[in-house]
């Protein structure tokens, strides 16, 4: 018997997930277990058994995930895959509304929402933002009481109706409503005979209702996800939906993808040992497939966050080799250049809160190592400037020059790097007619990385929060600030959700392919009061045998030979 090429190279569990097409299916996909790979093959398999492209719906959370899944599906299925819906929840809602109402409406973004709510709450931006939070929560949690009783909510909805406008959350709510009463909606829902939902552990109550509403038309619901990677409780996501899948979808088959293709055995084992302390989870036993050297997890303790940043820089330099002649001449020993093959994008530094990035950035600037901060203010500012310039494009007054327009658009910018960019843009395009020059500038700015996007092309060390790291992988991962109160994160007044925090730490650990390095400081000024920091209690949940502890105390430079010691 010749092997079906769609199944070739898949492991047993993956084959089961791919070929179980009829009836509900829960695919428990731990980190690095080939989740997207399996979904892509499952889509190809459906096509192969005669399912029509338009009958397949795959829902993801982010545009990035949708794009990646679409590209990989197209690459695998070719022409046959045209017409499959691989979309985000919002995109699905938008398509459906357009299809069945046949009318156009305005989609308003966050800024406009705040503008409306600010006016409703007395004119202060802060109050507008608070109200936005509340309204978004009511919608995401499908809080019917709130909908009926909250007066701001009702006034806000009325304004939107008058404007013929919807906000992003409405793109979920409205379809749910229509699917309960509108015949056109039913026929739209009926179209999808095979539905897949990615990152099922992150769905919120209103998304859950949407899935339930769709399940009235087909029982072929495949949920993919990992209860151990549920990290969006703060946005209203509820891991219980994942845990209850078997109850909600009677007769569901559960497949656990149990082979990890990403991390070294030691990293995988350490993370499994950590996460098994959670109670809200589906138990699973994953084993490592890659045959690589088991480098112990490095635990670096430093005096403060500045020393922590320097230690991380030093660790990167040790792997990539000398960065400049200046470094070579300063070194006490001659540089031993190995046969390394590292590049800057092999390294990522993860942290719990954005405020931790400041000292890290400083250290990277000082070392001259290229880096990118995902969610950085610089790229946000650039996006704002780009928007501002786009608006100016239709409104260029007589006598204004590219220089004057850019000076105005950049007027609030103090950063040298961005001021330098402004000057370069002026020099590069000032000889063109103003409108053309401005269009070129806008084109250039649009090519800068968008604020939240990870750009795999950018060969730089990546800095980001643990939340942002979900779905990514790096050869060497540093987690900074592995300290009690930061990981797990606790606001002073109340305790956080330790299980959620443990999952977040688990997500961070499992981003690492070859090496994982955890750092904590004795003192920290960038986060609360700061002295007398203690290591995160989560560290104790990692077997000591997997850890190599390196203590860099006060004034001791990272380049000195580390003192080894037992952990506790």
């Amino acid at each position: 018997m010749t092997e079906n090429p769609i199944l070739s190279g898949l492991n047993k569990a993956q084959i089961k997930a791919v070929t179980h097409t009829e009836g509900p299916l829960l695919v428990v996909a731990g980190p690095g277990t080939g989740k997207t790979h399996t979904i892509v093959r499952r889509i190809a398999y459906l096509l192969d058994i005669g399912v029509k492209p338009h009958e397949i719906l795959a829902i993801t959370f982010t545009n990035r995930a949708a794009r990646e899944m679409r590209e990989r599906t197209e690459a695998f299925t070719g022409q046959k895959g045209i017409g499959i819906s691989i979309v985000t929840f919002h995109m699905f809602g938008l398509n459906m509304l357009r299809h069945i109402t046949g009318r156009e409406f305005t989609l308003i973004g966050r800024d406009e929402q705040v503008e409306i709510l600010k006016d409703l709450t007395g004119g202060r931006v802060k109050d507008g933002l608070d109200a936005l939070d509340k309204i978004s929560k009511i919608k995401n949690l499908f809080d019917e009481k709130g909908m009926e009783n909250n007066s701001i909510y009702q006034r806000y909805q009325a304004i939107l109706r008058d404007m013929n406008a919807l906000d992003l959350d409405d793109l979920i709510l409205l379809p749910v409503e229509l699917l309960t009463r509108d015949e056109k909606a039913w026929s739209y829902g009926e179209m999808f005979r095979y539905i897949m939902i990615d990152e099922y552990q992150d769905i919120n109550p209103s998304q859950y209702r949407l899935i339930k509403a769709l399940s009235r038309f087909t029982w072929n619901i495949c949920a993919v996800g990992d209860s151990d990677q549920a990290i969006y409780a703060f946005r209203g996501a509820d891991v219980e939906n994942f845990l209850n899948f078997e109850r909600d979808f009677h007769g569901a088959e559960v497949v656990v993808l149990d082979e990890n293709y990403r991390s070294s055995g030691i990293i995988l084992e350490a993370s499994q040992n950590l996460i098994k302390n959670n109670t809200k989870r589906i138990k699973k036993d994953i084993h490592a497939i890659r045959e690589i050297e088991n480098i112990p997890i490095k635990l670096i303790s430093t005096y403060d966050e500045r020393a922590e940043a320097e230690a991380i820089v030093r660790e990167i330099e040790n792997r990539i080799g000398a960065i400049s002649h200046f470094h070579i001449m300063q070194a006490k020993q001659s540089y031993d250049y190995g046969e390394g093959s590292y590049r800057f994008s092999d390294f990522a530094i993860l942290y719990r809160t954005n405020s931790q990035s400041r000292k890290l950035k400083e250290a990277f600037v000082e070392a001259g190592i290229p880096f990118k901060v995902i969610g950085d203010t610089d790229s946000r500012v650039l996006k704002q400037i780009e928007e501002r310039l786009k608006n100016r494009l239709n409104d260029i007054s007589h006598g204004s020059t590219l220089e004057s327009i850019l000076e105005e658009a950049f007027s609030s910018v103090e950063d040298d790097e961005l001021t330098g960019l402004k000057r370069n843009l002026i020099f590069a395009y000032r000889d063109l007619p103003v409108v053309e020059g401005l269009s070129r500038v806008i084109d250039e700015l649009s090519l800068f990385t968008s604020p939240d996007a990870f750009d795999p092309e950018a060969d730089a060390v990546h800095l980001m929060t643990l939340h942002m790291s979900k779905g990514l992988e790096f050869k060497v991962v540093f987690i900074a600030g592995v300290e009690d109160g930061i990981i797990p994160y606790r606001l002073s007044q109340r305790d956080g959700d330790d299980e959620e925090e443990r999952r977040l730490f688990y997500v961070g650990m499992t981003r690492a392919r070859d090496e994982l390095c955890l750092c904590y400081c004795e003192n920290r000024s960038d986060h609360g009061k700061g002295t007398g920091q203690r290591p995160s209690p989560f560290i104790k949940e990692i077997p000591e045998a997997y850890i190599k502890h390196m203590v860099l105390s006060r004034r001791e430079k990272a380049k000195k030979k580390p003192r080894q010691q037992r952990l506790f």
Binding site: S341, P370, G420, F427
Partner: protein, 423 residues
Amino acid sequence: MSFIADLHIHSRFSRATSPDMTPEGIWRWAQLKGIAVIGTGDFTHPGWFKEIADKLEPSENGLLTLKKQYRNQDIPSSCRADVFFMVTGEVSCIYSKDGKTRKVHCILMVPDMQTAARINITLSKIGNLKSDGRPILGLDARELLNITLDASPEALFIPAHAWTPHFSVFGAASGFNSLSECFEDLTPYVFSIETGLSSDPPMNWRLSSLDNITLISNSDAHSPVKIGREANIFETEVSYRGITEAIKTKKGFRNTIEFFPEEGKYHYDGHRNCGICLAPEQTKAYDYICPVCKKRITIGVMHRVQTLADRDNGSRPEGAPDYRSIIPLNEVIAEALKTGQNSKAVMSEYFKIISNLGPEFKILLETPLDDIGRVSHPLISEAIKRVRENKIHISPGYDGEYGRIKIFEEKDIKVNSRQMSLF
């Protein structure tokens, strides 16, 4: 006309550079040295870009000049001359290719500030330009060449100090075995390499693959006094086009002015901190392992040339431009006076000589020895004579340590001192 150009230097915005590397300071020292065209360096740096945009102005020849209001530094009348700036920069590409970390420094020469700005915009999308005047980017050198050509077909891309072990296209530690390994389909757009301090043209002539490549030499100066320690002599019009055409075609490229390669920091192999300096054959005998620290020995330029050479020592390809070897005047004076290179005594002697006789290059290369003898210490004219005749001794540099020059034996100095007392 014939003129001297130094097309690779760094501004005060680069690491470990002198605060005197300002437009005014560079302008002044170019005249003291006798350089007509000098690179701005560092055009990628936002601070330096602003400074050169503010203080320099374009002239008709595609080069820039210092604005009149900034020309207020003291220049001896014997040295006063026009100085033109060419917009140049250097980028350190650190990336991984074919399973190995690569580190390649590259010089960019551009016809105007507009082109520089276009390159800067593209590079800012990739990395941070303000950390260092010579930014480190995670960028394939081939891609940098592509970006440069995209910005302007007139721009020129030249691999910097092509042989140094750690940061160059042929470097032993993280370079390539050929230009085409590095630049692939774009290799034909690499017209030239910079030979660096530790190699001279005869070493490069041993590679037939470099026969069509123009070997240029620049100072890579981090402080004013080092400007022009290597340079190029052109016989063409003083213009961006004139210079770059000469580099592309060798027509109008007369010769280079070279460091003695032994004086360069990476001529031989060894370990600076272990005090181990080895000729290539010795390194092989030690099996590339340092006898002191047992780590891998830093492989120098001579060794690397021997590894990649396909010709014997002494072969010279047809049409290869000539070269002159020099030792910078302050070093010559220091050797004669047996005192530090940057000491007061040396610098005062230096200024005495150039104020009387003209810029440094003229003194080193042309001025009759008698004239030099008339205005300075007789040992100095004797030293210059020996340098011109290559009758000097240098213990080679290695692993970041400069070679040590010896122009005089102990006895020479005694004899000369006695002669002195006769006057």
